[in-house]
């Protein structure tokens, strides 16, 4: 039976949690990456490598890579820079490994690619000409801790097609390797004035059903939304959730109608409401929602989970894993019905990804 690996990125380095096939006993290793702040880390199933996007206050941004499951690490920022157009790269915010390459979403807004396992990089696109492009790199229009492109969602069957999230602006799709783009925000809601209805939306997390590649879900700043046409249109499915705000989301690996979110208080706290931890699940594409909290703390638990903080594995009965801003990791081996705490004292967690290892 394959073992399970959790790749846990934190504000002070990367950690690995490993379990045997039953996912009950976990062994922690780390911190890796010299305890640099890690924004997102992924495991590339095809190559077996781990990639971690990091940005040191002192030594700048780069991507750490390990080809031996964390035994050794190398850092590179070769090519991770903009040329003479005034853009400055402050951080790599999101990583995606698919189709033999690694894509990196950056702040300022841009996408870099590596075709040699994150050793060297080249600029793929800054989404020039897209609506919002003239404003999104202006600090006056950015939230604190701007992430630029926090996420890139690849199409599983088509290497030339992927979706990029521009923080505070919305989703853009390319079908030609980033040469041209199309905004994909129709039907989304904004609670603030927007000049151009094509953009101006705050998409926190975008996921795709592994069994229906036209079925996308997103947790937005104002609501949870579903698309049945590859992002060309969106329908809000927030009704039934305790808040419209959250960051993390996950799509079930075998059922296109099952989807998970972690609603948070939308105010400054951005923690689970009322100090009671819960993950919420729909099994009918958002018509109804169930609160899943068995085994999670139900008092005085002011937990936050960031946009990459929830992961789901591909077991027949999937396991779910989430990491909190205060360093706990919770796991479920029964599709979220019950939970246990598998790490308690990590630094603040920015991302959790799961991999099965043969």
């Amino acid at each position: 039976m394959p073992s399970t690996l959790l790749v846990v990125a934190t504000r002070k380095g990367l950690f690995l949690l490993e379990s045997d096939g039953d996912r009950s006993d976990w062994k922690l290793r780390g911190p890796f990456c010299e305890a640099w702040p890690i924004y997102h880390a992924v495991h590339d199933a095809a190559s077996g490598a781990i990639y971690a996007a990091a940005a040191s206050e002192w030594h700048g941004a780069g991507v750490w890579r390990s080809s031996d499951l964390g035994e050794s690490w190398e850092l590179s920022s070769e090519g991770l820079a903009y040329s003479d157009d005034g853009l400055k790269l402050s951080k790599i915010s999101g990583l995606t490994a698919a189709h033999g390459r690694v894509l990196a979403g950056a702040e300022a807004v841009g996408i870099f690619e590596s075709r040699d396992g994150a050793a060297t990089w080249s600029l793929l696109s800054t989404l020039d000409g897209q609506p919002g492009r003239d404003r999104w790199n202006d600090p006056a229009n950015q939230p604190p801790g701007h992430l630029g492109v926090p996420a890139i969602l690849p199409h599983p069957d088509d290497a030339s097609r992927f979706w990029a999230v521009v923080q505070g602006t919305g989703i853009f799709e390319t079908t030609d390797e980033g040469a041209t783009w199309t905004p994909r925000n129709r039907g989304l809601r904004a609670d603030w004035p927007i000049e151009n209805p094509e953009v101006g939306y705050c998409v926190h997390k975008l996921v795709m059903s592994p069994v229906d590649h036209e079925r996308l879900y997103q947790q937005n700043h104002v609501g949870v939304h579903r698309s049945d046409d590859g992002g060309r249109s969106w329908t809000e499915i927030t009704d039934g959730l305790p808040t419209e705000f959250g960051f993390a989301a996950a799509a079930h690996p075998h059922d296109r109608d099952t989807f998970y979110v972690i609603p948070l208080d939308p105010g400054h706290g951005r923690c689970m409401p009322d100090g009671r931890a819960a993950v919420w699940r729909t099994r009918d594409a958002g018509s109804t929602w169930q609160r899943l909290d068995r085994g999670l703390p139900q008092s005085d638990a002011h937990l936050g989970v960031l946009r990459e903080g929830l992961a789901i594995d591909a077991h027949d009965v999937p396991g779910l894993y989430f990491g909190t801003s205060t360093g706990q990791v919770f796991a479920s081996t029964d599709e979220g019905e019950s939970w246990s705490e598998i790490a308690s004292y990590l630094p603040g967690i920015t991302s959790v990804e799961v991999a099965s290892l043969e």
């Binding site: 010299e34 040191s56 206050e57 002192w58 030594h59 780069g62 070769e78 903009y82 400055k88 790269l89």
Partner: protein, 87 residues
Amino acid sequence: MADLHLPSTLPPLFRDLPRRLEVEAATVDEAIDVLDERWPGLRDRLCEPGAALRPHINVYVDRQRAELGTALVARSRVDVIAAISGG
């Protein structure tokens, strides 16, 4: 030869890079070039693209705040400091 002192955060990033070493260079910039030639990528850890020191990297030559163009003389002491920040 300048007497170069590096911050503790740097040697873990480069194989066999010591905290202290002697470098033959006429300026701070040249000293970083010498290091980058032997330890490729080191310049990126100290400098922004476009040849400026990173915001939280401070360099002192003989205890005076320096920039990339600051001249070095024989036996200059060069301290590269990762400025105190964070928690």
